[in-house]
Symmetry: C2
Subunit: 338 residues, 2 copies
């Protein structure tokens, strides 16, 4: 089957670009130097490809991601890089036949983990992104509380999420160093072997963390594509033009097929006007192939990969980024929801 024969909108992954991205990352950060973040693809089959490239530990944002990977046999070293005080979900993770580590950043999250029977934690430290994580100077106290509750403290985690998307590489370097100085100071107080941090935008900058939590590198998006990273855009939504009028065309890829927090997606050679629930309106002229017609397929490149993938039931693997490429596999996006 060709990509152009898929019912649309269809989430398609250029397998050539994906393999390039997986290989490039595995060379740069081999084995346990990378802890792939599955939140960016929510796909067990893709995680298997990352495992095949030598990465045995995974990073998850939700219990469902972690439990799904464990049940699929990817049990070596699963980190929920997120706080939870949900007794049932914590217990479900504790009951897995897998090595499970949880992020904690407060007495409440420590005690919830211990009560549920979880055994290992990382202390999550605020390194500048105003999200989860304790202040660096409280990390030692949280670690003590965890050990007092019977938990093994493997080390620290701190995500420089406010840095990974900075356009200027010099700024990314400077601010990563500043963030990691905070994390290493916390690590002094916490102990353990693990210093977990980083993302796709800092994968080759963050040399302070012992492991990098990158996820977007596999599929990429237009926001990360602007940073000059060695990863190629792999994921796109294939849409069908259903209407043309004057200089505009409308295809069947809208707000329910795209994460929109980073703004509009892109269509190569065309200006995207706006998206609505089930449509994208774009300029009909100026595309590389000239004017488009009803029935044509167009490739829509999402601005933010994670919330885009989370809308789709499956991803199709193709031999290239084109309606004429062949569909060579279809993977369920099986780790969606919570």
């Amino acid at each position: 089957m060709l990509v152009g024969d898929l019912p649309t909108p269809a989430l398609v992954v250029d397998a050539v670009a994906l393999e390039h991205n997986l290989a490039t990352m595995a060379t740069a950060l081999p084995a346990a130097r990378l802890r792939p973040h599955v939140k960016a693809h929510k796909c067990t089959e893709l995680a298997r490809r990352q495992l095949a490239r030598g990465h045995h530990g995974f990073c998850c944002a939700t219990p469902r991601e972690l439990i799904g990977l464990a049940r699929a046999g990817l049990t070596d070293d699963l980190l929920l890089a997120n706080e939870s005080v949900d007794p049932q979900r914590l217990r479900a993770m504790a009951d897995l036949d897998a090595r499970v580590t949880l992020a904690v950043d407060s007495e409440e999250t420590v005690h919830a983990a211990a009560r549920a029977g979880l055994r290992e934690v990382l202390v999550d430290v605020d390194v500048g992104l105003p999200r989860c994580g304790c202040p660096p100077d409280e990390a030692g106290r949280i670690a003590d509380a965890a050990r007092a509750a019977g938990l093994e403290v493997r080390g620290v985690m701190g995500y420089e999420g406010h840095v990974v998307g900075l356009a200027d590489r010099a700024q990314r370097i400077e601010q990563t160093e500043a963030s990691m100085a905070m994390l290493l100071a916390a690590h002094e107080d916490v102990g353990g072997d693990v210093v977990s941090g980083g993302g796709t935008g800092t994968f080759d900058i963050n040399t302070w963390a012992t492991e990098i939590q990158a996820g977007s590198y596999a599929l990429m998006d237009t926001a990360y594509a602007e940073l000059g990273l060695p990863f190629r855009r792999a994921v796109h939504v294939v849409a069908t033009v259903v209407s043309v009028s004057g200089n505009r065309a409308i295809a069947d890829c809208g707000l329910k097929a795209l994460g929109m927090d980073h703004g509009n997606p892109a269509i190569d050679g065309a200006a995207v006007w706006f998206c609505s629930d089930e449509h994208i309106t774009f300029s009909r002229d100026g595309t590389p192939e000239g004017p488009v017609n009803v029935g044509d397929r167009v490739l829509v490149w999402p601005a933010h990969v994670d919330p885009t993938v989370a809308y789709h039931e499956r991803m199709h693997l193709s031999t290239g980024a084109s309606p004429d490429a062949e569909v060579i596999d279809t993977w369920p996006i099986d780790l969606r929801s919570w």
Copy 2:
């Protein structure tokens, strides 16, 4: 079970507000004067409540919505208010034991409908929103082409989507009248009984259309809530606070639980800082109940209902908008995807 006992993030609908909205609309636009748009909720059970209020015709944006309603027995009058040239999906709709009407706006969409065995169409007319729809002066030609292809032309459709969200009611009135003048001119050339248009923001303004395609009125969102309509905010995401630090708190409701194209959601009494994949960061102080703590539940009000609902597997019905309300029912959001 209480709302506060649900695993989070959970999509919750205040059943009191929902019933108010359904009743208010059924009084304003009884029976066939309203063709509820199911794209706003994608939930067969909610459509049944709209049917119980007397609305027998439904409006759909995707084949899956339409096919789902038909298979659930809501077969009286189903409109796909969208263009399609997908032969398999068109045939699947044609094969239903239901009255199915399709929007067409070009020769290509006319012929795709006829080839698939569909019997009835509306001519979709551009009334100012740069999306689907033919220019008004081409509507007669499209209708002729449809009749020549053996299709019954029921009338016209034109959505004033560029008007429904205007803050100023006088502007909404003026621009709705202008849009509907274009639609009525096209109707002159097309014929048929149906003039379909309108939305939640113009439900009581658009007196030119024979039927109004409102959908958001049932669940509402913060964007529509600003228009002073007689509908109450019903849908919200209940989240758990998983981290607090200084004056900020973080709850487990992020980009994968919220449509973000209308901007950040709201938390009553708090300032929302930003959302990331699985989190919302907001000011800890200034909430009606005072500072929040880890484990507290908060209600997150989405800015745009349609792409929010499309992320969730189910909606829980509650006796009110509060963690202390009771969960009285759970409905699958069964009409998601395409």
